[in-house]
Amino acid sequence: MLDRSEVLHVARLARLRLTDEEVERMSRELSKVLDHIEKISELDLEGVPPTSHVVDVPGGLRADEPRPCLSREEALASAPAVAEGGFEVPSPGL
């Protein structure tokens, strides 16, 4: 069960502003989904290693050599706001 204050806490972590109606709905819908998911707590998983990746990739390392990449102009082309050759953002307000 995910109550209103928990929904608001998670929404803050996720940087999502939710309306009151959305908070209400999230609480209801996520609680139902979590109830279903809870079934995995019945399994005995003692000593079972976790899987984070399914295919054995022998060392993802490669030579560290310069290669062509995006120009500054291309990288900034889609930005909503640009200033002094960089991404412009509001003050972090610290």
Binding site: L18, K32, L43, V48, V54, L70, P90, P92
Partner: protein, 472 residues
């Protein structure tokens, strides 16, 4: 209309034989795609492509790409309003490879936003309609690709599969869909949903087309460190029977499956009988943890998504909602305005599952279940060549039927989530109709067994003789 009746492989053969001009093929499909009434396309090319090289394996037969594949200078939005009209500065590796093999990009297809959904109703640009019955969903998330191929708006298409997003829409639209082994195709330039599960693959009219398109998609890519070299050449399938093939039927995903419709079950059993007539041995087996696949999936995928989607913050690309407040206020308002309800739900679920105090109980546990599911399959493959199930427990459902109940929607993936959790390949082929709508048969095999899967699927396809010609 005869041109449209050709499969992609047949069209390629005619082009190579000089019997069909690639420009004629392009124009015929471009016209159809531009006149799309199913909302399958979000963008259609208008510039005619250069002629293919004489020896190009895909011989100028155009393909449709799911919107989440980045294509340089072309809208690539993952059907999200937060990326509306985003035109990336680079192209996804699999798209580059297919284009290099001689197939031009016909258009970008609609999908569930960020590939989160099983009905296409989560698109930020409206749902796709199922060409078999326009009051029904095409499945998801690659619903636009599946509907486009089924309706003859594109010769073939590519999509992505995270928990069933190629196979389930292929099933609901009566086309073939292949989810390859994790790592077989580069993920570079695929807008990420759940990185440990996402995999690109073909949606096609038949199994031969699937093999041909897949052969252009595989390969190790230095831009994706999780990609691996495919261990053998992808062959054109030719098997005429299934002699010596052992098929395991997992009870958890068949007789005991929740919500399996009688018509789907009947067609599944009929296909098993056909397989036996073709020489296969068919026996029940167990995948004891498969029933927990959905739970593990709906923790792991949202957890990875919540992390992957953190990048949509109104800074580098996409939507920004200006705010009077500080940076975090801008982030929160932008994300609130740009993401649809299902994406918000999954970000919330994933953030919760990863948050302090819950990580071990949810994400950590789900990763252990994932290990058990992979072990279950490994055990089954000691006795069987393939594990077979229906692809979708139901035929295409009516638009709106499940939108108010996220859990009911998630159950659409019941038979397809265990495979990506184990990283193994699986194909979906149409195996008949129920209530006038397609049903489908799924064949899953060990990692990198695609050639054998395609062979078995081909033999069954010939025996089934499914007529995929919806009114085109």
């Amino acid at each position: 209309m005869t041109l449209l009746a050709l499969t992609a492989a047949q069209a390629a053969e005619q082009v190579r034989a000089g019997e069909l001009a690639p420009a004629e093929l392009w124009e015929a499909y471009r016209e159809r795609a531009a006149a799309d009434e199913l909302n399958a396309f979000l963008w259609v090319a208008d510039e005619a492509p250069a002629s293919p090289a004489d020896d190009a394996p895909l011989a100028g037969v155009p393909f449709a790409a799911k919107d989440l594949f980045c294509v340089r200078g072309v809208p690539s939005q993952a059907a999200s309003r937060i990326l509306e009209d985003y035109r990336p500065p680079y192209t996804a590796t699999v798209v580059e490879q297919i284009v290099a093999a001689g197939a031009p990009v016909l258009g970008k297809t609609n999908q569930d936003e960020f590939a989160m959904g099983s009905s296409n109703e989560n698109s930020g640009f409206g749902p796709v309609l199922n060409p078999w019955d326009r009051s029904r969903v095409p499945g998801g998330s690659s619903g636009g690709s599946a509907a486009a191929v089924a309706a003859g708006l594109a010769p073939w298409a590519i999509g992505t599969d995270t928990g069933g997003s190629i196979r389930q829409p292929a099933a609901l639209c009566g086309v073939v869909g292949l989810k390859p082994t994790y790592g077989a195709c580069s993920r570079y330039g695929m807008i990420a949903f759940a990185s440990s599960l996402d995999q690109a693959g073909p949606l096609t009219r038949d199994v031969t087309d699937a093999a041909l398109l897949f052969s252009a998609m595989v390969g190790k890519d230095h831009c994706d460190s999780t990609s691996v070299a495919f261990p053998e050449a992808v062959r054109r399938p030719r098997a005429e029977d299934l002699r010596g093939i052992r098929l395991g039927v997992p009870e958890e995903l068949t007789s005991e499956a929740e919500g399996l419709e009688p018509g789907v079950r009947e067609n599944f059993e009929a296909t098993l009988r056909l397989a036996e007539e073709l020489g296969a041995e068919v026996e029940p087996t167990r995948l004891p943890h498969a029933a927990h696949g959905l739970s593990a999936y709906y923790l792991i995928a949202p957890a990875e998504a919540s992390s992957n989607l953190a990048r949509y913050d109104g800074v580098r690309y996409g939507l920004r909602v200006e705010a009077d407040g500080d940076l975090v206020d801008m982030y929160s308002r932008t994300r609130a305005a740009g993401f649809g309800p299902e994406v918000k739900r999954r970000i919330m679920l994933g953030t919760y599952a990863l948050s302090a105090g819950y990580y071990d109980a949810y994400y950590g546990r789900a990763q252990r279940v994932r290990t058990k599911i992979a072990e279950d399959f490994a055990g089954a493959f000691e006795r069987f060549d393939f594990v077979v199930t229906p692809t979708s427990p139901t035929v295409a459902f009516p638009l709106g039927a499940r939108t108010d109940d996220p859990l009911a929607m998630y159950l659409a993936d019941y038979c397809t989530v265990p495979m990506p959790l184990a990283g193994i390949p699986a194909i979906s082929i149409p195996n008949g109709l129920s209530e006038g709508l397609p049903t489908s048969f799924q064949i899953a095999g060990p990692a990198f067994s695609e050639n054998r899967i395609l062979d078995a699927a081909y033999a069954l396809e010939q025996a089934i003789g499914f007529d995929g010609s919806v009114p085109r």
